[in-house]
């Protein structure tokens, strides 16, 4: 008979290895995809960079060299012949990878700024927005879900269910617009801070930022909490119908004790999976909310890049979003393995 302890450890280790290698593989594929997507553009990339039709052939050539557009895309036949195997790799793709490893994400077509700098400058703004929104959504969602499960079948439960259905039908950006129109008078509706205030102004500045943060965060929170609420509700109902709950009751525990010691942990486990699953949506929501409320984060940056066809920025923001979601998913998977002793490779 196998010794169960050892077997589980091995299984869990396999699980971790699989998840990590999958994350890395996905990352690599995203990087490759990111590169090739922008290289299949119809037309001459130079024309995209420069809008003036009166550019001389020389100037065009210089731009080509600067951006490395004179090299072949991914395989250099000439290089192979001239310089051997290393020459074969003298391509745009290699240059891209090389730059990536050094953290160079290119230069914005529109503003000539370093994409990396742009991202760095704005990333924390999105993080703050998303983090606060998500945390509130999770906390409130879990609470409402538990209440709905507890009061299953009552009007409260029905109300909560209807609320869930309604928010599912509501596009994020439109909800933002509604809130904007409703609260426009009393809360700031655009930007991050009222013009004139600077970080040096200390508390006044941060309070102002906070006020600007209210509506976009509220939009995200209200819409996302319904998903968590519905999942928590069904998770709790499911757990509460399990046999071990009856055992707990037979032991003489009261409802609160049963909930705290047996139901909660079991019901929370699916939540982690759901949070990971919805992280992709959260990113989408951030883009929409930042657009509607002109919150100067990465989402807004991506929107602006779409409007202006600023491909390096588009590439950079996509990469950032994808990497964040992949990483977050991985963390969620690892967390789940820690919390659920039964986890085996699927």
């Amino acid at each position: 008979m196998r010794r169960p302890c050892q077997d589980i450890t091995v299984q869990r280790r396999n699980y971790l290895v699989r998840k990590i290698s999958f994350a890395i593989l996905t990352l690599i594929l995203v990087i490759i995809f990111n590169f090739f997507l922008f290289r299949i553009l119809p037309g001459d990339p130079v024309k995209l960079i420069v809008h003036s039709p009166r550019m001389t052939a020389e100037a065009q050539e210089r731009i080509r060299t600067t951006f490395g557009l004179d090299k072949p895309v991914w395989f250099n036949l000439e290089g192979l012949q001239e310089r051997g195997i290393l020459g074969a790799f003298d391509t745009q793709f290699t240059a891209y990878l090389f730059n990536l490893l050094h953290g160079d994400l290119g230069v914005s077509f529109a503003t000539r700024q370093n994409v990396r700098d742009l991202l760095q400058e704005r990333v924390w703004r999105t993080v703050v927005l998303v983090a606060i929104g998500e945390i509130l959504a999770i906390v409130i969602g879990i609470m409402l879900g538990m209440i709905a499960a507890w009061r299953r079948g009552t009007n409260l439960d029905t109300g909560i269910l209807l609320f869930g259905l309604f928010t599912w039908a509501m596009p994020t950006f439109f909800f933002g617009i509604i809130l904007l129109m409703l609260c426009g008078g009393r809360l700031p509706i655009g930007g991050m801070v009222t013009p004139g205030l600077k970080p040096e102004d200390g508390l006044a500045y941060w309070k102002d930022v906070g006020r600007h943060l209210i509506l976009p965060t509220l939009t995200l929170t209200i819409l996302y909490l319904s998903e968590y609420m519905l999942i928590m509700r069904s998770s709790v109902v499911e757990v509460l119908s399990e046999d071990f709950i009856l055992t707990a009751k037979a032991k003489g525990m009261n409802a609160f004790q049963i909930f705290r010691d047996h139901a909660m942990k079991n019901a929370m486990l699916p939540m982690i999976t759901i949070i990971a699953l919805t992280l992709g949506y959260t990113v989408g929501g951030a883009i929409q909310v930042e657009t509607v409320f002109s919150w100067p984060g990465i989402g807004r940056l991506m929107y602006d890049a779409v409007q202006k066809r600023d491909y390096p920025v588009l590439q950079g923001t996509f990469l950032l979003f994808a990497v964040s979601v992949i990483a977050a998913n991985l963390i969620a998977d690892l967390l789940y393995a820690v919390l659920d002793p039964r986890v085996k490779p699927d």
Binding site: R152, L165, A169, L246, A263, V306, L314, F321
Partner: protein, 313 residues
């Protein structure tokens, strides 16, 4: 077939489904009979004076006029077409791809399943909206491009669900029997497995429709919709750019509410379907214990066991 008839008759009796179907019918009528229902033809050029721009509602224009002086109500009615087309067609494609992938992965298992599931997982991990934005930006705008991009991302959920269903069906008696009788794989899949999974697929496809509609409107709102067509998302795009400062609610709100209306209608139907196809009737153990004892013997009761009079003999 019998099963589907049963599902349909149960569905018809659920109030949620009826409300949803009613709501959807309104939109479908709007889309089909747009040329007759719309008071003006939104494709016709209009001569506008500055007062006509973002004019508030009045007797001739029930929902006022947009930033180009066109009648908002007419635009709204015509907008139904794009939403419905994108919703139904994308969902159909997703259902098709998802079902094939799910059936294959579930039935054959092993390396085939692993590979397919890796691809599925890959697509699921990448965030939806950024990917769609990036692809459309590069590829170009257009109705079919939007439909394809949305289908590309949304088949994964169906695939996963179908696969897990197929796995559980695979080992059931009637499948094993069919295999023992020498039925080909294809036959087993089509005649024995698929009908079992169909209700679930249909439910997912229905819910997919609403997701697709919302996805299209989001893409259009962000400026990537088909410029040659009227869609609610595009209306919101223009409205947001130009009508917010003027608080022109007649232009800003109706298209959004229309989107919510049609999504909600489909979600109600889908939700009702889900209740039928996937019932979770378990009641839990932590209900109020007061109801448990209904003694009618007239003995004194303590406070915590509130006794009810006997309900029936």
């Amino acid at each position: 077939m019998d099963q589907q008839k049963r599902i349909w008759s149960t569905l018809r009796r659920k109030p949620m489904a009826l409300v949803g179907m009613g709501m959807l019918a309104v939109v479908i009528i709007m889309a089909l009979f747009a040329p007759w229902l719309a008071p003006y033809d939104p494709n016709k050029r209009v001569q506008v004076t500055p007062e006509d721009i973002l004019a508030p509602p009045d007797a001739q224009h029930w929902l006022g006029r947009d930033d180009a002086g066109k009648d908002v109500l007419s635009l709204l009615i015509y907008g139904a077409r794009v939403s419905l087309i994108v919703g139904f067609v994308s969902s159909f494609f997703s259902m098709f791809i998802g079902t094939i992938v799910g059936l294959t992965a579930g039935y054959y298992g092993g390396r085939v399943s692993n590979t397919l599931m890796r691809i599925t997982d890959f697509l699921m991990v990448i965030p939806d909206l950024p990917l769609m934005l990036v692809i459309i930006s590069v590829w170009g705008r257009g109705l079919w491009k939007i439909i394809l991009v949305i289908s590309l991302l949304y088949w994964t959920y169906t695939a996963r669900l179908v696969r897990s269903q197929v796995i559980s069906i695979r080992e059931r008696q009637f499948v094993l029997r069919a295999r023992a009788l020498g039925a080909s794989d294809f036959r087993i899949i089509m005649r024995h497995t698929l009908p079992q999974v169909m209700p679930l697929i249909i439910t997912m496809a229905v819910l997919d429709i609403s997701s697709s509609i919302i996805a299209e409107s989001t893409l259009s709102f962000l400026g990537l919709g088909d410029p040659t067509l009227i869609s609610w998302g595009m209306m919101l795009n223009f409205a947001f750019e130009r009508a917010v400062s003027r608080m022109a609610w007649w232009f800003l709100l109706p298209p959004g509410f229309a989107i919510v209306w049609v999504s909600l209608s489909i979600i109600l139907i889908g939700n009702a379907l889900e209740e039928i196809v996937n019932p979770r009737l378990k009641t839990h153990h932590l209900f109020n214990p007061r109801n448990m004892i209904s003694l009618a013997t007239g003995k004194p009761r303590l406070v915590e066991t509130e006794l009810q009079p006997e309900a029936e003999a």
